[in-house]
Assembly symmetry: C2
Homo-oligomer: 452 residues x 2
């Protein structure tokens, strides 16, 4: 059963569950939900409008609530928790790992969080407050504290005997960490090496000394890029005195990698990363309006540039017709450069030593683009409007704007990074404003000089 569900949990199954729900077959929906793994239930909830989502949640076994909550995205999870009674939330959170607990609690609105903390017994509250004590988006925040530690002077067979007595190991344990008496990390032993080593050697003899470590305050995107670059499955987290405080496993990092990569795409379109696809329309409208507002201002700015040339436009309507072409091409070319540089920065490929090369390269591309598209648009316009001079003017504007686009696309993200502004968030709108203003100014300005 699990096998088929896992590899085939398909839109067809989702449709079937929704159909059963709509037909009022609650008993059978409850049964299906009970047999479905938590990640699939989460997927089903993510794919449902708010109303359906609430109905489905009622039919999920409460013992299962925590597992499902862990898998949900922030917006969806918060929406559900906000409608639950604080003490049922506390029950659901009870069995969560520290890292999941920290993530779940940290994104809740303050008043909801306070209600939940108040409903907890003192032991749970202590655990929750500890989980929240590390800054959001740090290594401490995403780490797990259920680490198995070994002492260096113990023989392997003693450890194997101990582990057999202990039973089940924490999830995703692939490495044991070796600490001294003051809990300072001094080595690591992969689980597989424990198996392949002779039983009478000591831990110290087979451990890797000075393993790679992650500081508890390291930003999570840096953690993710280390995991990605070195193909780690897990890594120990230490405090400033090199005491072992936890471990980070790849499954938590995968989420960060996905979110970071998505963040740029969503930001560039003026969306909040966490926007829930099936949120109520009013909420989505409100969230998206900031970007549209900014865009309205920049569109008005471009219109004001055109307005400076009202005289020219009233004499030659053909300029009005062609006025959008140069800004549009500049916007596309500039956004290509911008996107490439933003990605290069995210991957760590762009740095001070090659920034100058990159800017010159993009300037050169802008110039080459300018030559190509200026020639083309000049021919089209000269033929279409039977006006050679008009062709020359639009070609000149195109060349100027393409060079500006290359320069702005390459330098903007570098400047914004120095100013500590996220280039994915505002880069695109600033860029388009630049290419719009320069494109319109170059085209209408030159036309005013030579045609009027």
């Amino acid at each position: 059963m699990t096998d088929t569900l896992a590899t085939n949990f398909s839109s067809e199954q989702v449709s079937n569950i929704i159909a059963a729900l709509n037909a009022g077959k609650f008993v059978s929906v409850r049964k299906i939900l009970h047999e479905t793994p938590a990640p699939d239930v989460a997927l089903l909830l993510e794919s449902s409008p708010t109303k359906t989502r609430d109905d489905l949640w009622q039919l999920i076994d409460p013992d299962f609530h925590g597992d499902v909550l862990e898998e949900l995205s922030e917006d969806v999870r918060n929406g559900i928790i906000a409608k639950m009674m604080p003490d049922t939330v506390v029950d659901a959170l009870e069995d969560m790992d520290t890292d999941d607990l920290a993530e779940t609690l940290s994104t809740l609105p303050d008043e909801v969080l306070q209600d939940i903390l108040t409903s907890m017994d003192s032991q749970d509250r202590h655990r929750a407050e500890q989980a929240l004590s590390y800054g959001e988006e740090t290594a401490g925040f995403i780490m797990n504290t259920d680490t198995i530690t070994l002492r260096p002077d113990v023989a392997i067979d003693v450890i194997l005997r101990y582990l057999r007595l202990r039973g089940e190991l924490p999830e995703n344990t692939d490495t044991f960490y070796v600490v001294n008496r003051s809990d300072v990390l001094i080595g690591s032993v992969p689980v597989t090496r424990l198996i392949t080593s002779s039983p009478d050697v000591t831990v110290a003899e087979i451990m890797d000394e000075e393993p790679e470590v992650i500081g508890v305050g390291m930003p999570d995107d840096q953690v993710a890029s280390l995991f990605e670059r070195y193909n780690w499955l897990s890594a120990p987290v230490v405090d400033e005195n090199h005491h072992l405080v936890g471990r980070i496993t790849i499954d938590d990092v995968v989420d960060i990698i996905r979110e970071d990569a998505e963040h740029s795409m969503m930001s560039m379109a003026g969306l909040d990363d966490e926007e829930d696809t099936f949120a109520p329309a009013l909420q989505s409208t409100q969230r998206r309006s900031i970007w549209l507002g900014v865009n309205l201002v920049t569109a008005l700015l471009a219109a004001m540039v055109s307005d400076m040339f009202e005289q020219t436009l009233s004499q030659l309507a053909v300029l009005a017709i062609l006025n959008t072409i140069v800004p549009s091409m500049g916007g596309v070319a500039g956004n290509q450069t911008l996107t490439l540089v933003i990605r290069g920065m995210a991957l760590g490929h762009v740095n001070d030593s090659n920034a100058k090369f990159l800017i010159s390269k993009e300037l050169l591309i802008g110039f080459l683009n300018g030559i190509i598209w200026a020639t083309l648009i000049a021919s089209v316009v000269a033929l279409w409007k039977q006006d050679f001079m008009l062709g020359v003017i639009i070609a000149f504007a195109m060349l100027v704007n393409m060079i500006a686009a290359g320069l702005a696309g390459a330098t903007l993200p570098l400047i914004m990074k120095k100013l500590k502004i996220d280039p994915a968030l505002a880069g695109s709108v600033i860029l388009t404003t630049i290419t719009d203003v320069i494109g319109i100014f170059a085209f209408l300005g030159t036309a005013t000089l030579f045609l009027i």
Copy 2:
């Protein structure tokens, strides 16, 4: 040494190496490169212009070439291989895992690949051809064949003794697979369970029966989303008869997750995913020109719509000035919807059962956006141009275009998916064409009816 490098391989170190290279200190650069882990050398190469990259490559120990090649992105790797002698390439490929070998060879241009295959001895050639035999972007292509299999009727202590004799296990082994005499997969045993179980039980007693499997032909993005959804570290790959043929590990999947997420962002900006940030300008210009060409056509299309209203524009220059605002707002709103739906589809959240809801929701958002921005722009225009009627007309055009943007943004990716076109690739340009044409038509058309 390794410790500091790994966690701190910074742009400062990159700058130092480049400075030493430029100063002609080849011996010391060679030494530094030798002490730097392969992923960091790869990062250094990725961050360098082609000329520097070639110089650095000459200074890397040939024994190390394979390890570095594995870590490079397609474009950079192919650029380097194209300049190597076929037999040195063969040496570099010798120690690669099957999945890395398949990936490296598959992206090479045909003539280079043939040269390399010809230079291989028959055993290596056989291995290479086998690695290439599975379709690109399938599970078979990214799997590893170095799997440790167990028989169900063997006792744990026998296995532990065998593993101790065998020594080092294949990289990232977290699970052993259990097969019957005909190599059919019948179970799996996590490495940690082997440790915690009593030595005298048999494999059959502790194995998970019917483990989750991946078919050898499954598309790699589907593999990645299974790993992501179920937090797997590895999974067995089987052929159509359920024979175990290999295993996929999370480190290969992480690359696919990153690439998939980046693909949408790069495509939406009209860039090739694999575009090398530091490629020569001429090559980049050529690659980016397709998108600019498509955009020129759509910009001309928009100009032709304006051209239909030449009469109107020549009588009222103010229309020319305001003509860009409505298309611009429609483009931004439409792209928000488009991006959200494309992401929802990539995450598997959008399906037939909720598509209708999603479209109605985005239509409603379009309507609400329309009301908000129509009111605002009407007020601005009426005040700025002291023309109430003009305000009403631009408001009407804004409302129409915002609704069109919501509808087009939500339906386009769904239609394109049915037509098996990648919505990230062409969605944005089609959308912008729609919002441009409708925006201009609505604004100038209404103005012609009421103002002329």
